[in-house]
């Protein structure tokens, strides 16, 4: 590195603040052709950024030192001449109105040492050059501020003529542009602009500030409530509460009689030391999922959802959509990820980002790109979906009809008779007058004897007896008509048809016998016992309860028990259709309401309870026959 032991000839200072004589620096830069760096501190040195130092009088120029063999040293760069100092009534940007993104900046000179900033500056000339070729006037601003002054730097295409030592007269800058950095609102300008230029007031900063204050000036109760509801910890606490209540609802058996709770959670020996039946019945834990405490918490969560969507997420989308430019390298460096690219053009970066799917906005030397705005919409979408589900659930809980009925093969029921309203908003419809006739009920079996599918062949008749629809339904295959849906849920054996001593046939009604789990066994409580496991096999026991034999209904083989000849003709099945509400009906038809797909223990209890109530069928000769 050449060093001088006398005063520098043609002194020149770099942006990083080191003083050299121009010939020596020039030679240094030529030797290090791949990276122009300051000999002392290795900062980037750009020739157009060098600042000449003019002393008094002429430069003492020693011709010998000017030229070295093989190298002709050009003239010293002229430096840059900023605009003439402005008049007093220029717009000042007060420090208080600064957007926090840029913050306070020290004087411009000290900033010049920053490598990234110089890179930004370095990005400018090429950018300017390229747009200068289009003949447009370029306006770009970089604003720095200290406590007192505003320093704005302005370049136009005319200034480019000063680069590389071309001597042209400096034209007065055509525009003065002082911009208050603010979060967004400024439209992107890529080299546009007229000779007139723009003078922008800094109102948005003040407006932004007043907006912040305004949100705290709560105009009455609704805003306060809204603010409280959209509090995140509250929402999390609500969700925890709902989860805990639901868990409790699965541990405490639901829908039982109070006696059950008296026994299971006695007061003198409470579970966990305090949990007795009083807790359960007063708080409504026996019907947890429709209890006031649970529904109240759900409503609160719904209110929080609405409040949060309104106050937080919709504005977030608005903010995310706004373009916010960062105007200083320091602000850029403060981001989570930051990097510096020497000798790069911001336009190239913009093009690459566009190719990667970003939406790019370029304003002067500043670039702002975003991607994934859809991600801002996702929480709103999810919250809205949850609110819709809640609304739908509420509507169906208050405004629908349900019913379930067990109908033996060959019999009818009227839809309206078996449906009951579930809430105060339920109104019956025209299709309630339809009569449903069960033509046939049958089951498909696998080779191993297990049930494959249940089928019910149904016909719908209107008031005049005309058949309007006929369909065979099965599980997962419901029938839909006029807003009513009929589901195949379950089946039961309703009667055994037998011949006794060649008399009959007799229909013996069957009652279910619960053994374990979900298996159902049907037995006939009389002198002889017949056990129907399913429609395929009937097991017969004699009067003492000893096993007598097994018969399949199709075989029609007789069996002798205790001197009586029995032929099992058929097992008459009845199909269970879930219509979502249950009703109770008296009469000769085998119609029993029951929630067959829930709490199956409850079903058998209810059936037994009903069986004890229904009177005997007149034309049956067997003793102790109970029709149910």
């Amino acid at each position: 590195m050449p060093h001088m032991f006398q005063l520098a000839q043609e002194p020149i200072v770099t942006l990083c603040g080191h003083l050299y004589c121009w010939p020596c620096l020039y030679q240094w830069l030529q030797l290090h052709s791949h990276s122009h760096e300051c000999p002392v501190c290795k900062a980037i040195v750009q020739e157009e950024k060098l600042i000449p130092i003019y002393g008094r009088g002429k430069a003492n120029c020693d011709p010998r030192s000017r030229s070295l063999p093989g190298v002709s040293i050009p003239n010293r760069p002229m430096g840059q001449r900023p605009q003439t100092a402005p008049r007093v009534n220029m717009n000042y940007v007060r420090p208080n109105d600064l957007d926090p993104l840029t913050g306070f900046m020290p004087m411009a000179a000290a900033r010049f040492g920053h490598m990234t900033l110089s890179t930004l500056f370095g990005a400018l000339p090429r950018f300017l050059t390229s747009s200068a070729k289009n003949g447009r006037t370029l306006t770009l601003t970089l604003s720095f501020s200290s406590n007192k002054t505003v320093f704005s730097k302005l370049k136009t295409s005319e200034n480019q003529s000063k680069i590389k030592g071309n001597k042209k007269s400096l034209q007065a800058p055509t525009t003065t542009n002082i911009e208050a950095p603010e979060p967004g609102g400024a439209p992107p300008v890529t080299g546009g602009g007229s000779d007139g230029g723009t003078v922008k007031q800094p109102p948005p900063a003040a407006a932004a500030e007043s907006k912040k204050v305004g949100s705290w000036k709560l105009k009455g109760l609704p805003k306060k409530v809204l603010a409280v509801l959209s509090n995140l910890p509250l929402a999390i606490a609500e969700m925890f509460a709902i989860a805990a209540l639901m868990a409790l609802g699965t541990f405490v058996p639901q829908g039982e009689t109070p006696d059950f709770y008296f026994q299971k959670y006695p007061e003198d020996n409470p579970v966990l030391g305090f949990f007795s039946w009083r807790w359960i019945l007063t708080l409504g834990f026996d019907h947890m999922f429709s209890s006031p405490i649970f529904l109240g918490t759900l409503t609160l969560l719904g209110a929080s959802l609405m409040a949060c969507t309104y106050t937080t997420q919709i504005p977030t989308v608005k903010v995310a959509k706004r373009w916010s430019f960062l105007h200083s390298a320091e602000a850029i460096r403060k981001q989570e990820y930051s990097d510096a690219l020497p000798r790069a053009s911001i336009q190239d970066l913009g093009v690459i980002l566009m190719g990667a799917g970003y939406e790019v906005f370029l304003k002067g030397p500043s670039l702002y790109a975003f991607k994934g705005l859809a991600g801002r919409f996702a929480p709103i979408g999810v919250h809205l979906a949850l609110l819709l589900i809640m609304a739908g659930g509420t509507l169906s809980a208050t405004g629908s009809f349900r019913g379930s009925v067990t109908v033996p093969q060959g019999l009818n029921f009227v839809i309206g008779d078996v449906l009951g309203p579930s809430g105060f908003l339920s109104t019956p419809s025209e299709s309630f007058n339809t009569e449903v006739h069960v033509n046939r009920f049958y089951m498909d079996y696998y080779n191993s004897g297990e049930v494959q599918q249940f089928h019910s062949d149904l016909s719908l008749f209107d008031l005049n007896g005309k058949e309007i629809m006929r369909k065979t339904i099965s599980v997962n295959n419901p029938l839909r008509y006029g807003g009513i849906t009929i589901y195949q849920t379950d089946w039961s054996l309703s009667a055994l048809q037998i011949m006794k001593d060649d008399e009959g046939p007799f229909n013996l009604a069957l009652a279910p016998l619960q053994i374990n789990g979900d298996k159902k066994l049907f037995t006939e409580p009389s002198c002889l016992s017949m056990l129907a496991r399913d429609m395929q096999s009937i097991v017969l026991y004699d009067q003492e309860g000893k096993f007598a034999g097994v018969r399949r209904p199709d075989s029609k083989l007789p069996i002798d028990i205790d001197g009586i000849r029995i032929v099992v003709l058929d097992a008459i099945g009845s199909t269970g259709l879930e219509l979502k509400i249950w009703a109770l009906q008296d009469g000769t038809t085998v119609v029993i309401g029951g929630k067959t797909n829930r709490a199956k223990g409850e079903l058998s209890d209810d059936m037994n309870f009903l069986l004890n109530q229904v009177p005997e069928i007149v034309d049956s000769k067997q003793s102790d026959i109970v029709s149910g």
Binding site: M246, A247, Q452, P478, R598
Partner: protein
């Protein structure tokens, strides 16, 4: 009956603990940067994945229905999902920690499924009428995939908690449960720290090891968030498709069946996790705690409810003799 239930419960508890311990152990591996065994575990997992795929396809063909009709088949599907999640980053050339979690999980789930505990239901059974629907494929597979991803993510959070807790405690405090538990695994680390701490007592933050550890914590946090988000999506789709299927089959979208309720509770807990991550103060430690709670809740939802044996989802129940 009681003893078999107790045995079953103990099996699950030990299963979970062993999963966690194996996870910690393998994280120790990573921290010590022993990479020699890395390749073999990757290749082993790929082979496992193909084996389980073959098993599922065979069951599918043999029984004629999608192999997801009872607990045993769902367990196999779960281990399949684990191995799937394990090898996807491998194909994307993404070196990360999922393999550490997924490998042992798949091994354990598969081992449990094929162990002697469930022999009586290992034969392929026929579908009951309620399950004969196209929705079976969608609903159950989404749920199991969701469980797998959520388990993975919550295990990552558990390991994050472990590492964070270890970092905060002075390593020489003797009355330390964690220290005692992990001492057998972290022997090498103890010695290393012994040497270092003499001159790095207060500036331990700047040692390369601690830098690496905070990098690890960051990575764990990041990956746990991503995997749990994916699992959350699967879980949501599974619950929604289950509700629609229930409407088709039984006439009501939601009937507060224990299994449905617990799936909803799981969903809520992971929604809480995602919400805690939006708050900058709670991000990190607290969200990891929530995800760890979620780990337990998934097991309750998947296995615990089946133990009760009631309700609509009773095909998943089983008994021990």
């Amino acid at each position: 009956m009681i003893f078999s239930t107790l045995e079953h419960i103990l099996t699950h508890i030990s299963f979970s603990i062993v999963s966690i311990i194996i996870t910690i152990h393998l994280i120790t591996f990573l921290v010590d940067e022993i990479v020699k065994l890395y390749d073999s575990s990757e290749k082993g997992m790929i082979m496992t994945f193909f084996c389980i795929t073959g098993l599922l396809i065979t069951r599918w063909i043999y029984s004629g229905h999608f192999p997801l009709s009872d607990l045993y088949e769902s367990l196999i599907f779960l281990s399949w999902s684990f191995s799937l999640i394990h090898i996807i980053p491998y194909f994307k050339k993404n070196p990360n920690f999922l393999s550490t979690i997924m490998g042992p999980s798949a091994i354990f789930t598969q081992g449990f499924a094929t162990s002697g505990l469930l022999t009586e239901i290992r034969e392929s059974t026929i579908l009951v009428p309620a399950l004969q629907s196209e929705w079976l494929i969608m609903h159950v597979s989404m749920m199991i995939l969701g469980y797998a991803a959520l388990l993975c993510g919550s295990l990552l959070s558990v390991s994050l908690l472990v590492i964070t807790v270890r970092k905060k405690r002075k390593f020489f405090s003797t009355s330390n449960h964690l220290l005692n538990l992990n001492e057998s695994f972290f022997f090498g680390e103890i010695e290393y720290m012994n040497e270092e701490s003499n001159f790095l007592q207060n500036t331990s933050f700047f040692s390369p090891r601690n830098y690496y550890r905070s990098q690890l914590i960051q990575q764990l946090d990041y990956w746990s968030y991503r995997v749990i988000s994916l699992g959350f999506i699967f879980l949501t789709i599974g619950i929604l498709s289950g509700a629609v299927w229930a409407n088709e089959a039984w006439g009501s979208y939601w009937s507060w069946d224990p299994k449905e309720t617990w799936a909803f509770i799981t969903w809520i807990v992971f929604a809480i996790y995602l919400h805690t991550r939006t708050n900058r103060k709670w991000k990190g430690r607290n969200s990891a705690i929530v995800a760890s709670i979620g780990f337990l809740i998934i097991w309750i939802c998947y296995f615990g409810v089946n133990l009760l044996g009631i309700g609509l989802h009773s095909y998943g129940s089983f008994t021990f003799n």
